[in-house]
């Protein structure tokens, strides 16, 4: 009887796990599916190249592109309110070097059911001069990007350039005071690139920091896998040397100490501390999903009792 219950429970769990996609894996599946799908699948007028390649060629190599899984459309509410589901879309948004943004949204399924049916074009939007322009067909996107080109564009120019092609009504999303170059007045602002007047501060660090990141000693200690105590040098013992020695270390991507320099402490104790520090092993530090070098400090105490 107990076995039967366990069997039933296992089955319920299995069904539940199968029906509830983990968002991380669902996202990976959805994005790779959309990226690799021929663009012509989303609009028959487009070429058969993979969608991601077609899109990247359209926006240019200097555009900043973000792919993500996002909610789109209205909520799907079942009879039981607790069972409501949300349509899921793969969204690619590109920040063009002239300040425009392009969003393309492809429906892929729902957040509870995961990939469901064939991915289909859902919507595209161009944001320009703080206005949103809806693109109803994916094959209209290149044309609209051309029509809305140039930083000096305005409504009058638009009418003279190509009025019939622009079927999207601009949606005012922000007020006139927004288009201010904030950075120009800030004394310690980072340099603006790309010539956009809407550039702001950039907290996110680069994907691969060139200089090793610094971590505090407490963090480094917490990540140590192998700790090695220094040997109290006989020469130091004769000198009655004691106290703390701080060793600045650089930890490799593999978690090994490959640089160690004593930065404080009695000179008779420093080499012993450095030698010990070089033998420490740490869990690799992960940054942006990849192991990176980090710097830290190890403090060794040479107490008289430990002599």
């Amino acid at each position: 009887m107990t076995n039967l219950k366990l069997f039933a429970l296992a089955n319920v769990l299995l069904i539940w796990m199968t029906n509830t996609p983990q968002i991380g894996s669902f996202e990976k599946q959805a994005l790779s599916s959309v990226q690799g799908m021929p663009a012509s699948n989303f609009d028959s007028e487009l070429p058969g190249r993979p969608f991601a390649i077609w899109f990247n060629q359209l926006i240019g190599p200097e555009a900043g592109v973000v792919w993500q899984l996002t909610e789109c459309g209205e909520r799907i509410v079942a009879s039981d309110a607790a069972e409501q589901d949300l349509p899921a879309c793969a969204e690619v948004n590109a920040n063009l070097i002239d300040g425009r943004k392009v969003f393309v949204v492809i429906s892929v399924g729902t957040f509870k059911k995961g990939l469901n049916g064939k991915p289909a074009f859902f919507c595209a939007v161009i944001e320009r001069n703080e206005q949103l322009y809806q693109v109803r067909r994916l094959s209209d996107l290149p044309e609209m990007l051309r029509a809305l080109d140039g930083p000096t564009y305005n409504q009058t120019e638009n009418r003279t350039v190509n009025p019939p092609e622009i079927k999207a009504d601009p949606v005012r999303i922000i007020s006139t005071f927004q288009a201010v170059d904030l950075l120009s007045l800030f004394s310690n602002a980072p340099p603006v690139t790309g010539g956009s007047s809407l550039v702001e501060t950039t907290p996110p660090p680069p994907t691969s920091p060139q200089a090793p990141e610094r971590v505090s000693e407490s963090v480094a200690q917490g990540r140590a896998v192998t700790r090695v105590k220094p040997v109290y040098p006989p020469s130091a013992k004769k000198m009655n040397a004691a106290g703390t020695v701080e060793v600045q270390i650089t930890i490799s991507e593999e978690g090994l100490v490959f640089e160690a320099t004593a930065i404080s402490g009695h000179f008779a104790l420093r080499s012993a501390a450095v030698e010990a520090a070089r033998k420490w092993v740490f869990k690799p530090a992960i940054f942006n999903g990849a192991p990176v070098k980090v710097k830290s400090v190890l403090t060794f105490v040479f107490a008289p009792s430990a002599k």
């Binding site: 120009s184 310690n188 809407l198 000693e217």
Partner: protein, 371 residues
């Protein structure tokens, strides 16, 4: 368990539509003029803002320049004063508490008008949602009588939206490339008694043009305790079901007192506006503080060579110690750990936004200045 969940997804205050592209102002916060009076020779108008919460009064002065040549704005002053605006069991503030708050507001207003030349009509007062949805009359009256100003109350959803706009910049850099930062990031604020958060979302209504919306969450969890951290986990699981961006967004901006304590204790020497943190550090911190809180509360600052930096770190450390008992820190770290694991921060970029506590006030004042 006194957990209450307020679901507020996909709802937007109308006026907030006009500020979806308000800019992050924090890069001006390192201005040497911060917290000091300085003679004004720069063009532009000064606007002031004061925000009251149950624990603090925050004041800022913004210089806004609308000239054709040099449009822009700059934070020229900010100050925070401690308050004790907790309500009694009868729902009222203690008379002296309301009066003290009014006096604090008067002091800050005087500083804004005299030292920073902010005209009184350009100073705006807001009350945080934690002061009460009933807009307590005793507090409003005390402030009105003392300062002549009316306190405008924010609801929690508006607060979150203003915080998102004021904390997360529209654009960010990955290497040399600029990306759409705000539409791919989320804000999480973890305080001692509530967890808030949300993100900006471009939505595509079937019968209306696309527009920017905000998805928000608010989870009050009462006095910090491990039991409340468990309840927080349950609440977060419900929130993530209906707000998948809380899990999907790859960049997380952390604000609130708990995040401040964690960043300060882990990296006392790091004075950056945005302090990078990792999921592993958050987990490590929660475990370490549960085992040896005193050790974490007393980090070795002697390795900070720069004397001025060390003094700043010492002051910040003292502020953390006065704000948190070890037990509160344990519970706060547990709340942060719960958020990090339930919202799957393992592979995300996480930053503590040092000036995130000013985000909504900055956004609010700028919004008023545009009217």
């Amino acid at each position: 368990m006194n957990l209450k969940i307020k679901l507020s997804a996909f709802s937007v205050r109308g006026f907030l539509k006009s500020i979806v592209s308000l800019s992050l102002l924090f890069h001006c916060l390192n201005s040497p003029a911060m917290g000091q009076a300085e003679p004004s020779t720069e063009p532009g108008e000064i606007y002031g803002g004061i925000e009251l919460t149950s624990e603090e009064a925050r004041a800022i002065a913004l210089r806004i320049n609308r000239s054709e040549e040099e449009q822009g704005l700059k934070l020229v002053y900010s100050e925070t004063s401690r308050l004790a605006l907790r309500r009694a069991s009868n729902g009222q503030f203690a008379p002296q508490a309301a009066q003290e708050a009014a006096q604090t507001v008067l002091k800050l207003m005087t500083r804004l008008t005299r030292q920073h030349q902010a005209p009184p009509e350009r100073i705006f007062l807001i009350g945080g949602s934690g002061l009460g949805a009933d807009h307590p009359e005793d507090l409003v009256d005390a402030i009105s009588k003392t300062t002549g100003k009316t306190l405008a109350f924010l609801d929690v959803e508006t607060e979150i939206q203003l915080s998102i706009v004021g904390t997360i910049s529209r654009l960010g850099k990955v290497g040399a490339t600029q990306i759409d930062n705000r539409n791919s990031s989320a804000l999480i604020e973890i305080n001692s008694d509530h967890t808030l958060g949300g993100y900006q979302l471009l939505t595509y209504p079937p019968s209306a043009p696309p527009r920017y919306d905000f998805v928000t969450m608010s989870i009050p969890h009462g006095t910090p305790s491990l039991a409340n951290a468990a309840a927080l986990r349950q609440a977060l699981r419900r929130e993530r079901e209906s707000k998948p961006g809380l899990v999907n967004r790859k960049r997380i901006y952390l604000t609130g007192s708990v995040a401040w304590a964690v960043a300060t204790l882990l990296y006392p020497e790091d004075r950056q506006t945005f302090v990078p943190l990792t999921h592993e550090e958050i987990m490590w911190f929660a475990e370490k503080v549960a085992r040896a809180p005193q050790q974490l509360l007393n980090p070795n600052l002697s390795s900070i060579r720069d004397r001025e930096l060390r003094q700043k770190a010492e002051l910040e450390l003292q502020a953390v110690k006065s704000a948190f008992t070890p037990q509160q820190l344990v519970a706060g770290a547990e709340a942060l750990k719960a958020v990090a694991s339930e919202l799957e921060w393992q592979e995300k970029q996480i930053w503590f936004a040092r000036y995130g506590y000013l985000g909504r006030l900055l956004s609010y004042v700028r919004l008023q200045a545009e009217k």
